[in-house]
Subunit: 465 residues, 2 copies
């Protein structure tokens, strides 16, 4: 046999579906993970894959996985490339399965409030398709314009409006997926079921390691009757957390509740004097009025002054900006964002310890955080760190130092080590602290049951055995 | 070796933990499944198990499963025995693991709104433990006084207040479980995670087939500031469904929304002239006022007249009554309740077809339904059927006819075949229609990965291979 693997695969799928030209391969070497960009910058780029498959439909995905299972070839699912934890890093023997070629709207159903899309559908285009019917998916990750609906499911994503509308697992109705052996499964049927374990959760958060998501049906909402905004500034992060806790535990659910530390508040608006807290209120007009009034009363009672509400309008306008890493790297700046979660009782200590660890890194320009998703029992923190160095060779170590500081501070106080970006490669070493050794062993058993040949996105999610 | 299996196990666990007296064994032969009671009534009772284990703690559960895995002995987890689909039917070679002996409150945390219990804790006692702190679990199955918190998780239960507060999967924070090999796992950490598949969902709905739930931590709510009720009566079921759809899709979330057909409405209150719709509104006073007003306006717009609100008060008082089957069986009456779900577009046809199928059974006294859990995309239906016969030998066939009528009508219109009671034994034959063949194969693969010896509750959930 002198035929190469891509040539053999092209015989199965058809020529146009399997790309092997250098530009197509190079464009899918990795996603938006900072460390991949650091390596590109340093000339130590990830290799190109053996080929890129652009499936025309579910059958092409099935044929690819059947072929790969039989041949023992690694398959790396690729959505629209917006992942930030290293879920996609190519290798020379692998097939990159580029789901961006499957991007149809399948249906929008305004009676049952559902809309169904191919997994590669762009998130913003999906939202626009339902908005035409006066509906909303209600899932607004910062990456909404550059991420796919299948990627949302694979990474267990969260949107900016999650505090009222839930995270992706609360919005997904049905998941269509191809298992590593090529079987097609459709998971999720009625509005709710008690029919064994909810198998959708095998795909939610699977990060390409248990199968390929090919279609997603969402449970929609009608566009809200009213939207209004409010803004406050707390004297410190802990005072703000207590304000948030009181709002949420009193039963209010502003879709957006964000609290910025002093550094991030000043960057957001020069008028800030302390920790800005921004809210968006949506829903029936009477509820929005009641919520806005109640939040104002709580603020007065807790001595939290109001801030100019146009800060929220400004945030709403620029919230989905995705920066280019290269601009920073050229100035010797390594940076990233890291999200964790914790109960109300622990979040203040995690904020203090993690920002202190970041600021202790030599060359630290910024170690800051905001919260963006609140729950009855706690909330998330979204850290940003930026460190400048004149030694390019130190960039990778500096990057990992930043991560380590945040992970260790969170773990020390019992927090959750990954709120909504996933595990990918960057958090693999911490998975055991998140799930415990027993949890990792259980996940490994699932992986082996579904993917005994280990072809699906090797190197992601699970630590090496 | 002349030592019996229970004697050997008693050497491992200690004498007091392993019961073999006839009364203890007989009391745990089965749960509240109607067909087990039919069989008792006809003198064809399920056999007693080999022994009953009453674990004193997690270590006893681990030792029991290690022993059973090594010896290939079936283990049947038993909560408080309120299951209604045949999740517990003993066999002479099995260990019944009676979790009712593990019933401590572990902690109540009013800051992070969590409470943690041993799995065998009685549901009402758990609710009372948190009510003392002004909190609520918010999970009110009809069986709340006779079911365990671990049973809620194992069956994916729903409570009467689910439309606002969610089903059990929305209320559970952490699940502690022992896997068939004896490993202890603690699943669920932060308020929300993106750290691989949510492993809690392996236990939610597992019905004792994948492990034993030993502890449950809930995410609580503060007791609501206000409660009020409202009642309406729609001219027919479809008009009522449209009213409900409009309420829910407009963004209102009364914790309780129940709609009864004409027969059940009359049984509920003799003043009913059509299909009663009962609601309970809870939350901040301003929201409750807004919701009540909005629902009233929608009713007026849709020509749905009000009904006396004291019907709701009466329902609230008697809602957790659990009848004795024997009283009916002595009169030759076979009866059961069956819950399904569907999108708004299909629910009317399912109601019509299923009740028609029930009424076609010779001797049918009642074939009726109400809805009790509403979602953005659809709702559930809770059927009741009662058939009288003077041939005791026909009871089992009549029972299965009732189930078949409802399952087939639901399946024909694409509905979900199990809303909140589980699969157990009675729905096993329909699991493939619910999950598709691929879904059942996937579930079977999970089962084999976790329980390769097949010791956990054999005969439940999965159809025989």
């Amino acid at each position: 046999m002198t035929r190469s693997m891509p040539e053999t695969l092209a015989r199965v799928l058809g020529e146009g579906t399997v790309l092997t030209d250098a530009a197509s391969l190079a464009a899918r070497r990795h996603d938006y993970w900072m460390l991949s960009h650091v390596r590109d910058h340093l000339g130590a780029s990830a290799p190109s894959p053996a080929c890129v498959v652009r499936p025309g439909g579910v059958e092409d995905v099935q044929a690819t996985l059947r072929f790969a299972s039989a041949a023992g070839v690694p398959v790396i699912p690729f959505g629209l490339g917006s992942g930030v934890v290293g879920g996609v890093v190519a290798r020379p023997d692998a097939i990159v399965l580029d789901m961006g070629s499957m991007n149809r709207t399948r249906f929008v159903d305004p009676v049952n409030l559902q809309a169904s899309f191919d997994a590669g559908k762009n998130g913003l285009e999906a939202e626009q398709a339902v908005a035409e019917e006066g509906l909303t998916i209600g899932h607004w990750p910062q990456s909404v314009g550059v991420s796919s609906v299948g990627g949302w499911v694979a990474t267990r994503a969260s949107g900016q409006f999650s505090t009222a509308y839930g995270n992706i697992e609360d919005i997904v109705h049905t998941i269509e997926a191809v298992l590593p052996n090529g079987e097609l499964v459709i998971l999720g049927k009625g509005p709710r079921a008690s029919a064994g374990p909810d198998l959708r959760h095998l795909m939610l958060g699977s990060e390409g390691t248990l199968g390929v998501i090919t279609g997603v049906t969402f449970s929609l909402r009608r566009a809200p009757e009213t939207r209004t905004v409010s803004a406050f500034q707390a004297g410190g992060m802990r005072a703000g957390f207590e304000f948030q806790r009181e709002i949420i535990q009193s039963g209010w659910r502003p879709p957006v509740v964000r609290q910025y530390d002093e550094r991030e508040s000043l960057r957001l608006d020069a008028r800030a004097t302390a920790c800005l807290i921004l809210m968006v209120h949506e829903g029936p007009a009477a509820v929005v009025a009641a919520e806005t009034a109640a939040v104002g009363e709580l603020a007065a009672k807790m001595n939290i002054p109001a801030a100019p509400p146009d800060i929220v309008d400004h945030w709403l306008e620029q919230r989905n900006h995705v920066p280019s890493w290269e601009m920073f790297l050229q100035r010797g700046i390594v940076l990233d964002t890291v999200e964790v979660s914790a109960g109300w009782g622990a979040i203040g200590a995690i904020y203090d310890d993690a920002t202190a660890a970041l600021k202790a890194i030599p060359g630290c320009l910024a170690g800051s955080a905001h919260s963006s998703h609140a729950y009855r029992g706690g909330l998330n923190l979204y850290f940003t760190f930026a460190v400048q160095t004149d030694e390019p060779g130190a960039m990778e170590a500096i990057y990992l130092d930043g991560w380590r500081g945040i992970m260790e501070a969170t773990d020390r106080h019992g927090g959750g080590l990954a709120h909504h970006h996933g595990i990918g490669r960057v958090r693999r070493a911490w998975l055991e602290r998140e799930l415990s050794a027993g949890g990792v062993a259980l996940l490994r058993r699932l992986k082996h049951a579904l993917d005994p040949a280990g072809i699906m996105n090797p190197g992601v999610l699970l630590p090496d055995a």
